[in-house]
């Protein structure tokens, strides 16, 4: 559904390529996590997918990005946003209204959603994200985490096929981050929405994503299932990406020669591993 071929991009004032010969296919229904150190090119890749690059940033652009066969180069960002809903990294620049309800209404009116549908779309989007109680609140009075949820609700109301989120839980506490990812999983599994999410916390990706893509200096370094990626933990650590501690534990026990199974990606697996070593 998304096909990126030989994509290279350098910002007008950039010293090096922000994206360097990217080749990538993302299938319908995927839940893809993108991770990497800062400056790796994660945000730039999201921009290339939703058309912000090349339509809003000048620079050298080579290669192509196709969304359901259409080249983003020849499609306006607003036409693209019918298919791809984006939640940006800098939340304050994304929100334009002063009241939560208006923020959602704004998008719906821009997309000429029929008036009879509007109320239902607003209330179900607020409910999906669990912020029905914030409907009439002023956006200024909300915390960073609450704003991130408002942005998600406003996007969901437009019913995109693809959701593209750039570090959506950076302002959230750990428990709220997990709740946010549960919402994404629900949308992915029960509504068939394709999820592409940039995330620093690999522990969240290992729990919720299907596939992980690791970027470094504008390139894709690893692209595979969660387990395939976590399995390369020494490479991840070399790049500067922190693996879950249960992964480090299983690696240590392998080194010590007491464990030979596959690498652990969550606490459940680690418990099984330890029991298999110490129990009779």
């Amino acid at each position: 559904m998304i096909k990126i071929s030989n994509l290279t991009f350098r910002y007008k004032d950039g010293r090096k390529n922000a994206l360097d010969n990217i080749n990538l296919s993302i299938n319908k229904g995927d839940f893809l996590g993108i991770t990497g150190t800062s400056g790796a090119g994660k945000t730039s890749l999201t921009y290339a997918i939703n058309g912000v690059i090349p339509h809003h940033y000048n620079g050298d652009y080579y290669g192509s990005v196709r969304i359901e066969g259409e080249d983003t180069f020849d499609t306006s960002p607003s036409a693209l946003s019918l298919k791809i809903g984006s939640v940006f990294q800098d939340i304050d620049t994304q929100l334009v209204s002063s009241v939560v309800e208006d923020e959602i209404l704004y998008g719906l009116e821009n997309f000429s959603v029929p008036a009879v549908e509007i109320e239902q779309r607003i209330s179900s989007a607020l409910e999906a994200v669990g912020i029905s109680s914030l409907r009439y609140r002023s956006i200024e009075s909300l915390s960073g985490g609450q704003k991130q949820k408002v942005a998600l609700a406003a996007i969901l109301a437009l019913r995109p096929k693809i959701l593209l989120l750039d570090e959506p839980t950076s302002e959230l506490d750990p428990e709220s981050s997990v709740q946010f990812y549960r919402i994404l999983r629900e949308l992915n599994e029960n509504h068939g929405i394709t999820i592409i999410v940039v995330e620093q916390k690999i522990m969240l990706l290992s729990e919720f994503a299907k596939n992980i893509l690791v970027m470094d200096t504008g390139k894709i370094v690893i692209n595979g299932s969660v387990r395939e990626v976590i399995d390369r933990s020494s490479l991840l650590e070399e790049i500067g990406i922190n693996c879950p501690r249960v992964t480090s534990l299983s690696n240590r026990l392998k080194e010590e020669g007491v464990y030979t199974g596959s690498v652990c990606i969550n606490v459940e697996e680690a418990e099984k591993m330890v029991r298999s070593i110490i129990d009779d």
Partner: protein, 272 residues
């Protein structure tokens, strides 16, 4: 040296902090943890005198913040805001670091020495424009400006949020270095692995109340407290909890590895 007695605070009608009392001694490294909206940032602003308690008292080195000018407090306390961009306002890295120094000191030679020291400690170029730096580098610059005046107390509100792992470790190692030299550190942090690795003491806020205050490891064992504050314990602590008896007090990968090796050796011995 920091003493809160029955501190309450409200912004408007709603009570934000309720009846908070604790004291922190010189040289301690304490973390404040809790869910979004628990009152952590508000507590930080009370500690540095930006906010005054609605009732109760906050004392810093014997000075009641309610009756002390912020400029006097600023000499003793370095405060890192949750977002570094609120803090950075000059056109070059050097000017940014000089800003705080020149407010507090007059001696040109002394100021120049401090500037050099901090630039080399952080590896910054004096003439770089702060706004061309990445978020992680701007965070380090904000910290550098604080450290330049060598405050007795550092208050850090989510110093590692938005940073990648490498940047996070860089910041935390600098903070640890300062703490070893005697600086008192109070840090708000959502990453429990970082809290476990760096803080000796943890204060847990929930709904504006202090629901636990103790040594880091013992607080991470209080399941009811963690649950009430919506906190997810460090992974090794969760694993140890699931494994049950024999795994008490295991918090790090090293400790876990050692214990498992010991137990597996025992098992082999029994089998032989």
């Amino acid at each position: 040296m920091i003493r809160l007695q029955n501190v309450c605070f409200n912004y408007d009608r709603d009570r934000t902090l309720t009846d908070i009392s604790f004291h922190i001694n010189k040289g301690e490294f304490a973390a404040i943890i809790g869910a979004n909206g628990a009152g952590k940032s508000t507590l930080c602003r009370l500690l540095n005198g930006l906010l005054k308690p609605s009732s109760g008292s906050v004392e810093i080195n014997g000075l009641d913040t309610g009756h002390t000018k912020s400029s006097v407090l600023a000499r003793q306390i370095g405060f890192l805001f949750q977002n570094p961009d609120r803090q950075i306002c000059r056109n070059t890295v050097a000017e940014e670091i000089l800003f705080g120094l020149e407010l507090l000191y007059k001696d040109r030679e002394f100021i120049a020495e401090r500037l050099e020291k901090v630039l080399s400690m952080f590896g910054f170029s004096a003439e770089d424009n702060p706004f061309n730096l990445s978020r992680g580098e701007r965070q380090r610059l904000a910290l550098a400006s604080l450290i330049a005046v060598e405050p007795e107390i550092l208050i850090l509100d989510e110093p590692t949020t938005g940073l990648d792992y490498k940047e996070c470790i860089e910041i935390m190692e600098i903070v640890r270095e300062m703490n070893k030299k005697g600086t008192t550190v109070i840090m708000v942090c959502h990453d429990m692995e970082v809290v476990l690795d760096y803080a000796e003491r943890v204060l847990v806020l929930s709904g504006g109340k202090l629901i636990a205050d103790g040594e880091t490891r013992s607080v991470f064992c209080m399941n009811d407290v963690l649950e009430q504050a919506s906190l997810i314990p460090p992974q090794m602590a969760s694993l140890a909890g699931r494994l049950g008896s024999g795994f008490e007090d295991v918090f790090t990968v090293e400790e876990m590895t050692e214990l498992i090796l010991e137990k597996s050796n025992e098992k082999r011995r029994v089998e032989v």
